[in-house]
């Protein structure tokens, strides 16, 4: 049994044995475009790995190759010590939850959940018992004799989960399993999946579009773009220290300032924007000349008095202030850009639209990237 851990993304998996290995995996559907390009990735036992990335970046394709519904055009995937290339999907023992749930419409809920047990030749009594337990696990014992069409979307989701887990697979794959649910139900299910993952000690590979979902649920997140993994790290590192511009802009909100590098001092570069403003930023993915994109998170933009202690500040005009309940978003028009700053809603003096204002950020919070590897 694993100890329950309070904060997601901070479990120590460094010493867990490896369960899945992608080794130089490439995939093309048409013989021309490479959807996945020589991918190397290892997934530890018990890990919750999320694949995140823009549409068409190859996430589903990776999942399908792991499940056996697509064959890697080259390279090999290992599950434990087995090479998977010769193993048909039904022998892999990998649980999968499909985006539209793929419940069998002609079978009752109980029959759906019993299906993987029956095809494994389990006897009736144990099947019945396991089905009951699975239904209890997802807290839907009363729906056993209904057809899938008689369930709500959230209930169907949970049944799909129960069906994928009932035969106790080590590895469970989920392709945007919560995409069709409304926000509240989704947050609830996120919690349930997360706690099932922990209590059952499962290894999960999870695909989502929703970066909040990725950040809150995962041990590690792999950011996909154009068939490559751009960064694979735990959520905190991914959010706070993105390794390239695309990851920085794709995960979380960000402000972007483009300019030319005009100086470098160790790990800090000076970037001059077209309007002539000089910004100092940590050099992450840039050299000592050429152009750069400076990325700053909205919560790190200091506005008005809070900016007074900074070396460099920029002047702008408040364009709009949007109330979000727990915080305010201040939109500032400066240098032809729309800069967003996040402020606590409890601040006594909220700026008002039309105010002239200065803002800035500390060098530690500004990160300079290669613009070519920042655009989506």
């Amino acid at each position: 049994m694993k100890k329950p851990v309070a904060v997601g993304g901070e479990r120590d998996l460094a010493h867990a044995p490896t369960l899945v290995t992608f080794q130089g995996v490439s995939k093309t559907y048409d013989g021309k475009v490479h959807v996945v390009k020589s991918l190397d990735l290892t997934i530890a036992k018990g890990e919750f790995l999320t694949l995140l990335g823009p549409s068409g970046s190859g996430k589903t394709t990776c999942l399908m190759m792991l499940a056996g519904f697509e064959v890697p055009t080259s390279g090999e995937i290992y599950l434990g010590d087995w090479a998977l290339s010769k193993k048909p999907p039904h022998e892999r023992g990998i649980g999968m939850v499909f985006q539209n749930y793929a419940l069998f419409p002609h079978m009752t809920i109980a029959e759906n959940i019993a299906f993987p047990l029956e095809v494994r030749g389990m006897n009736r009594a144990s099947v019945k018992e396991k089905v009951t337990r699975a239904l209890d696990m997802v807290r839907l014992p009363q729906v056993a004799d209904r057809k899938p069409s008689q369930l709500s979307g959230g209930q169907q989701q949970r049944i799909a989960l129960a069906r994928a887990l009932v035969f106790e697979p080590e590895l469970v794959l989920m392709d945007e399993p919560l995409g069709a649910l409304d926000k509240q139900l989704r947050e609830h299910m996120q919690y349930e999946i997360r706690s099932l993952h922990m209590s059952l000690g499962l290894t999960m590979v999870y695909v989502t579009h929703d970066q909040t979902e990725a950040l809150t649920m995962s041990d590690r997140i792999a950011v996909f773009a154009g068939g490559h993994i751009r960064q694979c790290a735990d959520p905190r590192k991914l959010y706070e220290e993105p390794s390239d511009g695309l990851v920085a802009t794709f995960v979380g909100e960000s402000n972007r300032f483009d300019g030319a590098i005009t100086g470098r001092d160790g790990d800090v570069v000076t970037v001059t924007t077209a309007a002539g403003t000089r910004l100092r930023a940590a050099a992450i993915d840039v050299g000592s000349e050429g152009s750069a994109a400076v990325i700053v998170r909205p919560e790190n933009v200091r506005v008005g008095a809070a900016a007074s202690g900074l070396d460099d500040t920029i002047a702008g005009r408040v364009a709009d202030v949007v109330y979000h309940g727990d915080h305010l978003q201040v939109h500032i028009a400066a240098e032809g850009l729309d800069v967003v700053a996040k402020q606590s809603a409890r601040d006594v003096v909220a700026p008002r639209p039309g105010d002239e204002i200065v803002f800035g950020f500390s060098t530690a919070h500004a990160r300079a990237y290669d613009p070519a590897r920042t655009d989506h």
Partner: protein
């Protein structure tokens, strides 16, 4: 009439009535001839004409007592069932294959597979007559069953294809991920869901054979009778009310088939809504 809530002009109202009247006449045109022949099966006259002076079971009894017609009825059902079975197995497999991936020559193969629907039956019958003769297949039931299976198979391909069009292939992937090997997944998941299409296709194939006379005329030996063949020669020669008696049997079969197909259609629709 249309459930339009718009106010109607008198002209519109008039044309609405005219349309309804016209449709009623069309309905009569469609159904009356079929109904008109049936009572003649209970006539006591010698010819297939009205008026019926006295009702009698004479011809019905003659029909069921006749050795000739008994053979014809038995043969029609036998040939129909056997050819429908062949057509259903081959047609279902082909429909599943055609619904999956593209492959070289798929369009051409689809065209060939469906062509028995449109090729004029006389051309086919004559072709078989020439082709089967040296193979010893003329004047055999085997020859007729093969011909009818070929004629029935496109119905199966079309109906199974239609039910596969609404089939979610993720279900097969789900079944595989849950551990079902391909054949088991087909039997437990795909087949139950496309079954209405398969059965409908089988019924169409049966009906096509049950009603087919041209290939039988060319291929069958004189004593290899079927109901349509006996009706054809009866209509050419004697025009006796026994034809009406045979029509009653054919109609009863048709109504059973019609009801079965409509029920299956409903079932498939229900399943689609559930999916």
């Amino acid at each position: 009439m249309s459930q339009s809530t718009m106010p109607l002009t008198p002209l519109e109202r008039l044309s609405g009535w005219a349309l309804a009247g016209f449709a009623a006449l069309t309905a009569i045109f469609l159904i009356a001839p079929i109904l008109a022949i049936l009572p003649l099966g209970f006539s006591d006259g010698e010819f297939l004409v009205y008026p019926i002076r006295h009702f009698s079971m004479k011809w019905m009894e003659a029909f069921f007592a006749s050795e000739k017609w008994a053979v014809a009825v038995k043969n029609s059902f036998f040939i129909g069932a056997l050819s429908a079975a062949i057509a259903t197995v081959l047609g279902t497999m082909a429909a599943v294959g055609l619904a999956r991936h593209d492959f070289f020559g798929k369009k051409l193969i689809t065209g060939l597979v469906l062509s028995p629907l449109v090729v004029p039956i006389v051309i086919y019958a004559v072709g078989l007559y020439f082709f089967f003769a040296p193979l010893g297949l003329t004047q055999t039931y085997t020859g007729i069953v093969l011909a009818h299976a070929a004629l029935g198979s496109p119905f199966v391909v079309v109906t199974v294809g239609a039910s596969l069009a609404g089939f979610d292939h993720n279900l097969m992937r789900a079944a595989a991920s849950l551990g079902a090997p391909p054949m088991l997944a087909f039997r437990r998941v795909m087949l139950p869901l496309v079954l209405p299409g398969v059965v409908t296709g089988a019924l169409f194939a049966f009906a096509a054979s049950f009603d087919e006379v041209v290939t039988v005329l060319f291929l069958a030996a004189p004593d290899q009778r079927t109901i349509p063949r006996e009706m054809f020669s009866g209509l050419r020669e004697s025009l006796s009310p026994i034809i009406a008696a045979a029509s009653i049997v054919m109609m009863a079969t048709a109504i059973v088939l019609l009801i079965a197909v409509e029920l299956l259609k409903r079932r498939a629709e229900r399943m689609r809504n559930e999916a």
